[in-house]
Symmetry: D2
Subunit: 145 residues, 4 copies
């Protein structure tokens, strides 16, 4: 239950060290989340229109190998944990022609409403909760909730 | 009637050519606009709360000399033209220890409401129009360049 | 002789107006240039390794309609003018499901070497010059050189 | 032994949630590092000219309260750990008029040369090592947190 997002490194994403700047990886992770939610049968845009937002509580990223301009990047995104109040996504970043993972990360989010108040998603928007819950069932059997 | 904004080049703003990426200058221009509106006795945040937004219609930027990491940048911002429907800001960018202008630019904006509908600012929010009008009177006496 | 680049609007590319920030379009243009040069049979990465760089001299962008998170963007990139010392690219931006152009722009670049000295590309790297020249021949018959 | 960096939130740094995008905080941390190294009596630009680079190995960031456009931000930067091969910086982010910390983070870096090879900084550039070592002595007496 992992989505794959394909990206090509933009010139603007490099810095004077000649590699992708570390602040770009959280943006790639976000592209991964967008695709994962799409795989679950809705869009993050729709979720926001229904009053569900996912601000970050925590971000972690580890950098193993650099990425360079024009590299073909693959971001694999999954759900590590999910509860009615929070969700943790995990990410693995690869570049084509290089077998090892070049970076990994995870982001923890709170489910909040359009006034940034934390909500119990199961009660607030049960249909969204069930959609994601059902989709990520297998992952959850291993994790805590 | 020109505001001055002081910035220090961020590492993230450089690219693999070793210079500030060209897409950063429009962001610096925006910092200049923020300061100029503050000089006029309000904040752009307040303007938005009162339902006045300033989306871009046009952007122009010319690059004469590169800027580098840790350079001390000065952005001089003024108003080139102003009407009840539109405003054009102009910008000159300098770096400390270098007498010549390193970049220049201008941005044209429409006055719109919170539904992105163009408004006649003089009628829609006369108090804001007058504040800016009065402040930039001298510039306008010269008319278009 | 126009390349097409497909992009999906990233959440990070939006601002508090709820639309794509205007400074993102020059980055999309750059993605367009990357693809266009690839179409000409080389990569911009290779060009840089052979000592040819393309810093911006001028940027122009006009904004007609906003773009939003998750919009599917198409950037059409072509060459407006080309000479041994300079090149001007032009861009048209579209979003899927909307027939009109949402933005257009052009960027003018100088051919420089790795010390940022302007070069006559025809003499400095004739093979690169011919590759691009040949590829964009049709466009040039209309333009100045 | 903590440096303070003052920043004003840029419009471009916000996203459609109306708050500063989470990927901006690592950029602010970097501004903090730049200032901290300046306090130690050199610049990061000079360090790079002497062949010392500091790519990231790990990034962690926790978000407690949102920041908004035009907020006045203070980033407090210190050194958590330092060895001849690695350095960990820690950051606390505040906004004016709000007493609590809005975000915190830390970044771990390797000392590498211009070929991205890990170096023992004590042997490779003893003068830089001593400058930073001496400066951050007090922090180190406390050891790891």
């Amino acid at each position: 239950m992992v989505s794959e997002t394909n990206l090509i490194v933009r010139y603007q994403e490099t810095d004077q060290m000649g590699i992708v700047h570390h602040s770009v990886y959280p943006i790639w992770f976000e592209c991964g989340r967008t695709d994962l939610i799409k795989c679950a049968g809705m869009t993050y845009s729709q979720m926001e229109k229904e009053g569900v937002f996912l601000p970050l509580i925590e971000l972690k990223c580890r950098y193993f190998y650099p990425a360079n301009y024009e590299d073909e990047i693959v971001v694999k995104t999954g759900v590590l944990e999910m509860s009615p109040s929070r969700i943790i996504f995990k990410y693995s970043v690869y570049k084509k022609g290089f077998e090892k993972e070049i970076a990994s990360g995870q982001t923890e989010h709170a489910w909040v409403n359009d006034k940034f108040k934390p909500v119990n998603l199961k009660k607030y928007r049960p249909e969204i909760y069930m959609k994601i819950k059902k989709y990520f069932k297998e992952d959850e059997s291993n994790g805590k909730e």
